[in-house]
């Protein structure tokens, strides 16, 4: 976004007040803060408008694929490293179905769309898209499979073919909204750009040389296809890291604006498809196309994405409530901790390690750690007693024994008073939990 002074240079400097601001400079300041629209100025020239719009465009264009609740959005990123602010639009994964696949193969991949769906710390992790690839080179066969997949799944689709006519026919044969077209290359660019424009669909432009890719992108934009994604034609991990980084860094540092689009990584047929997916997730990948995704691979991949795309300023929280560990019964003790995920995972792992059955009560501290929550009044004897009541912890555990974090020893008397249970002060470090549990 340009600064107020940069914007001011393009304004008419009439101070006419028709924009509802007394001076052009005041209007420029509002514009810089994105509070008003450029069109509020009646005297703005077309030339100034074009220049300002170009310089205020996001460094990486936001691209939407599909529509409705399953729509995915890519791009609009502003950072190279997640700690600088955050990464906004997570990497998305698509499983590719060939139109040469047999019935069994098609059915298996359609099942993946339902099967690859997991709940984790209150977030859903799932497969995002399906893709249909025109390996048969037969437009009718392609269109038939696209129609079938579109009917069977509500996930957004990627239509993969080298033939613009096949893409148009397949897209028109369904009521699909905004499928992603893969891919325009040097040999079919004009046709693909026209197809994308006609269908109003986002288009992937592909070349394995970045200079050639920038040329193709320029041509596609000139032909009226503006919602683009980039396939950098990578075939190993080094290319994945390096090309993705070059594209991302040029865009966000504004050294080169011609490749400011989200990236598609085609991991199909790659010996290291899983590794390529993981690297793309960490290094600026938008959509990853995969031959298949086994659940044993999907879970680590999805969790990595969840981790990398976590907002560094907002800690992941675990749902408050009572968690059984090591199959506890009524005679197992109750321990409690905060809902800051890192604390929870550490404490839960240490209890598991002890092999002693126990109940772990998670108190909602808005993601603060034990000491911070205590200092901020988010974890008091009252709030702990309340969570003990509302979670039914003292009915599930009738032993009447509560272990409190060592750092909260000061709350032990009050908690004992409020609950009537015996309160044991635990260790200050979670790693001491197994030793304590064995002595209870």
């Amino acid at each position: 976004m340009p600064t107020a002074i940069e914007i001011f240079k393009f304004l008419p400097k009439k101070n006419c007040g028709k924009c509802n601001y007394p001076t052009c400079l005041a209007f420029a300041m509002q514009l810089a803060n994105q509070k008003v629209k450029l069109s509020d100025c009646p005297f703005i020239t077309e030339e100034a408008k074009a220049k300002l719009e170009a310089s205020s465009a996001p460094p990486i264009r936001l691209i939407a694929v599909g529509s409705g609740e399953n729509k995915v959005e890519l791009g609009d990123e502003t950072e190279l490293y997640r700690h600088e602010k955050k990464f906004f639009h997570p990497t998305r994964y698509a499983v590719v179905i060939s139109d040469l696949a047999d019935e069994q193969g098609i059915a298996l991949k359609l099942r993946r769309a339902d099967q690859l769906r997991f709940d984790r710390v209150g977030q859903v992790m799932a497969l995002d898209l399906l893709a249909v690839r025109n390996d048969s080179r037969d437009p009718a066969r392609f269109a038939a499979l696209v129609k079938r997949v579109a009917g069977a799944s509500r996930l957004p689709l990627v239509l993969m073919s080298e033939d613009p006519a096949a893409i148009v026919a397949a897209a028109k044969g369904t009521t699909l909204e905004r499928p992603l077209i893969h891919a325009a290359t040097a040999s079919n660019l004009d046709g693909m750009a026209a197809a994308a424009k006609e269908l109003k669909c986002p288009l992937v432009v592909k070349a394995d040389d970045l200079n050639a890719l920038a040329d193709l992108v320029g041509k596609a934009v000139a032909a009226g296809a503006e919602d683009l994604m980039l396939d950098l034609g990578v075939s190993n991990l080094q290319q994945t890291v390096e090309r993705n980084t070059i594209v991302r860094k040029n865009a966000v540092k504004k050294t080169f604006r011609g490749l400011g689009y989200p990236i598609v990584t085609n991991a199909c047929g790659q010996e290291r498809g899983m590794l390529m997916s993981l690297v793309s997730t960490m290094k600026y990948g938008g959509i990853v196309l995969l031959d298949d995704l086994d659940p044993a691979h999907a879970i680590p991949l999805f969790v990595l994405r969840q981790n990398i795309y976590t907002d560094p300023q907002v800690p992941i929280q675990v749902k408050a409530g009572l968690y059984p560990i090591n199959n506890p019964g009524a005679d197992a003790p109750v321990l409690f901790t905060t809902n800051f995920s890192l604390t929870y995972f550490t404490v839960a792992a240490d209890i598991e390690k002890s092999k002693v059955p126990a109940w772990l009560l998670v108190v909602d501290t808005e993601g603060l750690s034990v000491m911070t929550a205590f200092a901020a009044g988010k974890m008091t004897a009252d709030s702990v007693a309340e969570t003990l009541r509302s979670s039914g912890a003292l009915e599930k555990s009738t032993k009447g024994l509560i272990v409190i974090p060592g750092m909260l020893s000061r709350m032990s008397g009050k908690l004992q008073e409020l609950t009537g249970a015996k309160v044991v002060v635990g260790p200050r470090e979670s790693s001491g939990i197994p030793k304590l549990l064995k002595t209870l």
């Binding site: 490293y81 997640r82 700690h83 099967q115 997991f118 984790r120 970045l210 200079n211 050639a212 890719l213 920038a214 040329d215 320029g218 190993n236 991990l237 080094q238 890291v241 390096e242 980084t245 070059i246 860094k249 040029n250 540092k253 050294t255 080169f256 011609g258 490749l259 290291r272 899983m274 590794l275 993981l278 690297v279 960490m282 290094k283 086994d294 659940p295 044993a296 691979h297 999907a298 879970i299 680590p300 991949l301 969790v303 990595l304 969840q306 981790n307 990398i308 976590t310 560094p312 995920s341 890192l342 995972f345 550490t346 839960a348 792992a349 598991e352 390690k353 790693s431 030793k435």
Partner: protein
């Protein structure tokens, strides 16, 4: 034709190098290796690659509570550190062996420093790769154990773990006296990592004897914190902060403790495959954020990571 620029950063700093293991010329009996030396962000060859990132296979002298899925391929060798270490090197091509002397824990078997030394010497005799040696995590006991260990293998230039803010003097002195390298441990915080290196420098430990361990959190267990701390350490080092230019070690074995890694659940696919990738994913995140050396539990994930390192370096 459009010319897309390669946005190479002009870094003023560089990661230092540390040599581990000593060959016959220095009185040792193994092939030394070098880590570090990168001139840019991880795996950007146009900024400068440095030494190949290495894999140390974990060997524990008391292998209780280990997930069978992680160490199945070692068979009975998990009860014999010497055989376990040999398998790591001969069957699974480990670049180093990392021996953890957990049996010395006073709350467990409480093995004496003399017994620990015997185990160390056996492992050193069994393999020709450099060896990383850790105590049990009990401050007072580790001070005694590691001092004895340092003296017993004084010519081998092992990497001794670890020095931390509350306990670094004994182990630093023990390492320095026998020219071993030293792990500088800190708890998930760039400032603490720097502080630890400053403490060591003030104590007289040279930076080319220090490998940083900023604590790698496992996948799903806070990995994102480590990923960003590691990246920030690397960036600060490249920007010229001398006190953060030591190479980085990440121990990824705790990733096996995540319940999701190995829980039996029909919807989650094969548990061994999932656990293997859980550790490999943690390792890959460590590498992508700046690790020079990984401590790995499963030979299957070690193989994945070795292949990934080679491919990330363009086969170099």
């Amino acid at each position: 034709m459009v010319e897309v620029p390669v946005p190479k950063e002009k870094w003023s700093g560089k990661i230092g190098t540390v040599t581990l293991g000593a060959g016959p010329a220095d009185g040792g009996s193994r092939a030394p290796v070098q880590i570090g030396g990168e001139g840019g962000m991880p795996f950007l060859s146009y900024e400068g690659l440095g030494s190949r990132q290495l894999i140390a296979g974990e060997v524990i002298d008391t292998a209780d509570n280990l997930s069978e899925l992680a160490v199945r391929e070692f068979g009975d060798s998990v009860n014999d550190p010497e055989a376990w270490a040999r398998q790591w090197v001969e069957r699974f091509d480990a670049d180093l062996v990392c021996l953890k002397l957990h049996s010395t824990n006073p709350e467990g078997r409480n093995t004496s420093p003399e017994d620990a030394v015997r185990t160390v010497l056996k492992v050193l005799a069994a393999v020709k790769v450099p060896v990383i040696i850790y105590g049990c995590g009990h401050e007072e006991k580790d001070a005694k154990t590691m001092e004895a260990v340092s003296n017993a293998c004084s010519k081998e230039r092992s990497l001794l773990g670890h020095a931390e803010e509350t306990a670094y003097k004994t182990i630093s002195a023990a390492a320095t006296a026998n020219r071993h390298a030293l792990v500088a441990f800190s708890n998930l915080d760039i400032n603490l990592a720097k502080q630890m290196n400053i403490l060591l420098a003030d104590f007289g430990v040279k930076l080319d004897n220090v490998v940083m361990d900023p604590l790698m959190a496992g996948l799903g267990m806070g990995l994102e914190y480590s990923y960003s701390v590691n990246e920030r350490i690397r960036i600060a080092a490249l920007m010229g902060d001398r006190m953060l230019q030591a190479p980085m070690l990440c121990d990824i074995t705790p990733s096996w403790e995540a319940r999701e890694a190995t829980d039996d659940n029909a919807q989650w696919g094969d548990a061994e495959e999932r656990g293997t990738w859980w550790e490999a994913t943690t390792g890959l995140a460590a590498l992508m954020s700046g690790a020079d050396l990984l401590i790995v539990r499963s030979p299957r994930s070690a193989a994945i990571l070795r292949d990934a390192i080679a491919d990330l370096r363009g086969g170099k």
